[in-house]
């Protein structure tokens, strides 16, 4: 265990075997964020702290959104790894009191891995949340470390937003959902292991149950509507241990957990296994003693198991019992404030001339056709056209994008990340949106071997977010993506949400190439104004990063009976050019390059 000496110091004694297992999980990179915590604190943030970030769509509706990675599990078992990745991020958004309304995925493979696509499709389709967008990058560099990043989005009335913390002693925590088994024990710390270690072969595979997740979504939203939920957190990495300790310590409280009350699927489980089990489709709900009964009635109505598993106390301690046997007791703050690595300082140089690397763009229609992108009847711009646009039936619209440029960050982590944010802003503007916030997922090799790259990425995120005055509302870090000590390209996936006033659908007619070759940050503002001007005049706009890879756009237009015919365009890896459909005088260089018939 990485910080063992630090644990001895803080505890002032040898940890018991249970405590060793507990701290191995809580202080793992996956739960503890030790390498990114200090950088994250410097990011511009807004809104309610908690699992997933919140931004305001309008005066009475909030949008919750976050990205998470499930890279290690998907490398070991593609189908279940990807499926449980979807389940986890959906519960993160749900825990904020929001109905999940959209999923986007960012996939990096060495070839299309059917198991991962089917895992995302089966889980997302079954829980009835539309998968409306994504990106698919193919490169040999991801042969042993496929990247599966999933972004979930949800909407909620402002008054329904649930804090992800307890608030006073005397509250209780109900854990409800599927039954608890030995799934994924050490899933969290296993996710922070180099894949050749013997840990990787140890079966920490979790199997998803989308049917239980759908029941969990409807049950939890009913509890929120009935005003019974005072706080919530989903059970993910670290299971009951991390959910109960984090809910308590965020309000300076302690917690006592009673493990014998957890509904088990495998009756012979040891107390520490119950504490650390990462069984899927479970939620921790903070409520009053009086409302706990009503919460359990709703859980039962939806065929789910549940019980009051813990109570909040003033004494800042984490105590776990099995019947009256004390299983574990430690000061709670030691558990929930893992050691962190000192952040480096980073001063960016000039942006280099990027070379074109062999990241191939494939036809993503074969992939997104397996996703139900229409369920919910709120998908207004479907996948395949840059950013998706969704509606809220109250008559508001919002744009969603997910984007990464590993071909650039491999050459310069700082400017590669910066350009990814710039291009994401363009994608939202092109959909007629005003960007509201950023969520990010860092996929990196070994931060101890190459700390400078991580610092560069985090500084670029901070600088670009400040440049566009956008809050970074949530995020995730997947580190140690190495195989036989060889790292993946640093891959920063940016998710973005924007408020859309007017929806524009693609119309047949002339297609123009607008903007400039090459990249100059000072000109970007002009490009943005031109995109907004085109949108206001009712023109459709697309912002491809690579003009040699328009196959997904072409195949998507074809599905709606339209043929995109454009000349070969020579575009550098980084440029400031966009495609404008049906509008020519935007006050920036433009030329006619084709037609949409």
């Amino acid at each position: 265990m990485r910080y063992y000496k630090e644990l001895l110091k803080r505890l002032g004694r040898e940890p018991t075997p249970v405590e060793k297992e507990a701290f191995a999980v809580m202080w793992s990179e996956h739960c503890g964020y030790s390498h990114t915590k200090k950088y994250i604190e410097k990011l511009p943030k807004v809104g309610l702290g908690g699992n997933a970030g919140v931004v305001a769509l309008d005066e009475d509706t909030s949008i919750v959104f976050k990205i998470e990675s499930h890279n290690h599990p998907s490398a070991i078992e593609p189908y279940n790894g990807a499926a449980t990745g979807v389940g986890g991020i959906i519960r993160d958004v749900l825990a904020m009191g929001a109905r999940p309304t959209a999923i986007l995925d960012s996939l990096h493979f060495h070839r299309v891995i059917d198991g991962i696509i089917e895992g995302i499709a089966d889980y997302g389709n079954s829980i009835g949340v539309p998968t409306v967008g994504g990106e698919l990058r193919i490169s040999e560099r991801y042969r042993y470390n496929p990247l599966v990043n999933v972004m979930a989005v949800g909407t909620a009335k402002n008054e329904m937003i649930v804090p992800s913390k307890a608030s006073r002693a005397g509250q209780v925590i109900v854990v409800f959902g599927g039954a608890t088994g030995r799934d994924g024990i050490h899933g969290a710390s296993f996710a922070s292991e180099d894949l050749t270690g013997e840990k990787a072969t140890k079966l920490a595979i979790q199997v998803g149950d989308p049917f239980a997740e759908k029941l969990l979504i409807e049950a939890f939203l009913e509890m929120v509507r009935e005003g019974l939920v005072e706080g919530a957190q989903d059970l993910g990495a670290g299971g009951i241990l991390s959910a109960t300790s984090e809910l308590a310590s965020k309000s300076g409280l302690g917690v006592q957990v009673h493990l014998e009350r957890v509904h088990l699927r495998e009756p012979d489980m040891q107390p520490w296994e119950i504490l650390l089990s990462e069984s899927q489709e479970r939620m921790a709900v903070v409520t009053s003693k009086e409302n706990a009964k009503k919460i359990l009635e709703i859980a039962k109505k939806y065929m789910l198991y549940g019980d009051v598993v813990a109570e909040l106390i003033d004494e800042k301690v984490f105590r776990a019992f099995y019947k009256d046997e004390l299983v574990m007791e430690v000061p709670i703050d030691i558990l929930t404030t893992p050691p962190y690595e000192e952040p480096l300082n980073y001063v960016p140089g000039e942006m280099p001339d990027f070379n074109e690397l062999d990241f191939s763009y494939t036809d993503a229609t074969q992939v997104y056709e397996q996703y139900d992108h229409m369920v919910g009847t709120d998908t207004v711009i479907p996948p395949g056209f840059g950013s998706a646009v969704m509606r809220v039936k109250t008559g508001k619209f919002y744009a969603l994008s997910i984007h990464s440029r590993a071909d650039l960050t491999l050459q310069d982590p700082y400017w590669g990340t910066y350009i990814t944010v710039v291009e994401s802003v363009r994608k939202i503007l092109a959909a007629g949106g005003q960007p509201l916030g950023i969520t990010d997922c860092i996929n990196y090799g070994d931060p101890d071997v190459a700390p400078a790259g991580l610092a560069a990425i985090m500084y670029a995120l901070k600088d670009s977010a400040e440049h566009f005055e956008l809050p970074v509302v949530s995020g995730n870090a997947s580190l140690y993506n190495t195989y036989a000590a060889k790292p993946i390209p640093p891959t920063m996936v940016i998710g973005m949400v924007g408020r859309v006033e007017k929806v524009v659908k693609p119309k047949k007619g002339k297609v123009y190439l607008a903007g400039w070759h090459g990249f100059d940050l000072k000109r970007e503002e002009l490009l943005h104004k031109a995109i907004m001007k085109a949108r206001e005049s009712g023109a459709f706009v697309l912002t491809p990063s690579n003009f040699k890879a328009l196959v997904t756009y072409e195949k998507s237009f074809a599905r709606y009976g339209m043929k995109l015919k454009v000349k070969e365009i020579e575009g550098e890896p980084v440029h400031q050019m966009v495609l404008v459909f049906g509008k020519d005088n935007l006050g920036i260089p433009m030329q006619e390059i084709g037609v949409l018939r």
Binding site: A121, N125, P210, K214, Y302, Q370, M374, V375
Partner: protein, 219 residues
């Protein structure tokens, strides 16, 4: 015009169907699987929506079809009420034995979500009065188990215009002999507003309204 949308554990398109029915002027209620004292008394239309009832575990619609709420649905249909099964709802109607044949895994073994071209074969059912016979329409499909296998000679109402999932004779929707039950794989509720990409689905709900009004006039 009173409609009830049945919500099984795992149904996903109940709210979408509710929305589309409201748009067409229906008075709509949900019929939840956990409502103990539920009755379809006084309803003109019952809809089994799309989704993954019981996660599609074992067979799509297999478990839902044997719930006691489904017994009440069967009684309602046997008493002449209008019963519409969409996608998973169609699978449930088959498993209930209310419609002939079976719905198996798509030919290529993959889930398919896209708009498809169809033709209206029978515009004499209460669900298709607003269409012309042989009318070409476009509706979206989203299913993994939509391959229709014929048993006997079903009353075919909708047919795909090209092979979508390997269905026998490209059958997309069938009605009961008496015509008061319709099952179809495409989603009319997803094609009831232009902003979503098409309005051909609206005519299914308009047909039902037209039928009920004309029958109401006779009563």
């Amino acid at each position: 015009m009173k409609a009830a949308v049945v919500v099984y554990p795992g149904s996903n398109c109940d709210r979408d169907t509710y929305h589309a029915l409201k748009l067409t002027g229906f008075d709509v209620d949900y019929a939840y699987f956990f409502d103990q004292d539920l009755s379809f008394e006084g309803y003109d239309l019952v809809v089994l929506p799309g989704g993954f009832s019981y996660g599609d575990y074992l067979r799509p619609g297999a478990v839902a079809a044997r719930e006691n709420i489904s017994r009440k649905v069967k009684e309602f249909a046997e008493n002449g009420g209008l019963l519409l099964g969409i996608c998973n709802g169609f699978q449930v109607l088959m498993e209930m034995g209310l419609l002939p044949g079976a719905l198996l895994q798509n030919e290529k073994g993959k889930f398919i979500c896209r708009w498809v071209d169809l033709v209206v074969e029978d515009n004499t059912t209460p669900f298709t009065l607003a269409f012309k016979k042989g009318e070409k329409i476009r509706l979206p499909i989203a299913h993994g188990f939509g391959r229709y296998v014929k048993v006997g000679e079903p009353r075919v109402v909708f047919r795909y215009r090209e092979n979508v999932n390997g269905s026998d004779e490209k059958i997309a929707g069938v009605a009961s002999e008496s015509g008061n039950i319709l099952g179809l794989m495409p989603h009319p509720e997803r094609a009831s507003e232009e902003i979503l990409g098409g309005e051909d689905g609206r005519k299914v709900f308009l047909s039902i309204a037209e039928y009920l009004e004309s029958r109401g006039a006779e009563k």
